[in-house]
Symmetry: C2
Subunit: 109 residues, 2 copies
Amino acid sequence: MNPQTKALFTARAGIIKAMAHPTRLFMVDELGRGEQTVGRLQEMVQADMSTVSKHLTVLKTAGIIQDEKRGNQVFYSLRCPCVLDFFSCVESVLQTNATITLDLMENRS
Amino acid sequence: MNPQTKALFTARAGIIKAMAHPTRLFMVDELGRGEQTVGRLQEMVQADMSTVSKHLTVLKTAGIIQDEKRGNQVFYSLRCPCVLDFFSCVESVLQTNATITLDLMENRS
DNA sequence: CACCTATTTGGCTATTTTGCCAAATACGCA
DNA sequence: TGCGTATTTGGCAAAATAGCCAAATAGGTG
């Protein structure tokens, strides 16, 4: 990998890494249904408010979500909704994994 | 997040996390062009053979790639080629990020 | 079997990531 | 200005990840 290729894949991996956490993935999924405040998201994921805020910062820094302050609160929304497309592939990988697991349990190929 | 939802998103994040590394992402991209041996991949990424092997194990454990031993060597290939679809969205996020950056530099909205 | 090539595994340190608490900041309102 | 609510930031300890070396394993061949 030459330096440019490496830089390219590091940048790409950065986007993916931002989604690579259960809480952040959940929030992306949730934001796919529309904007939410930090407080609402915190209720849903049941973690410390500061933890939620930091996760949101990670997603925002990656360019996946954006924020808008309105009055007292901050509304987050997806900036690139195409990230929702990840889910269908992820599901199919999980599906395949599950199928193989069953095959093994039942002594099939 | 109830326990089941949490388990679901942890599983989903696991797949994504496996791709969230420059070297692994590069290898997935490369495998999108066809199977490769560990040695060939190592030449391309220029890392220690054991490092490459471990990265491949991560991808394999996640169910993204599969291996097949033929004679002396091990051939890896994509198990779920849909992961290649990630790239187009990732590119569009990077593109959007770059655009915004330019806007900022030029004092536009 | 002895040797060579290809790959994986064990082990260890350095680095990064998480998540909590406490403190700071921002905003609206009396 | 002082107070209450919403959110971010600083700091830190625990956990997870990355990458290297050395050693082990597996296959092929003379």
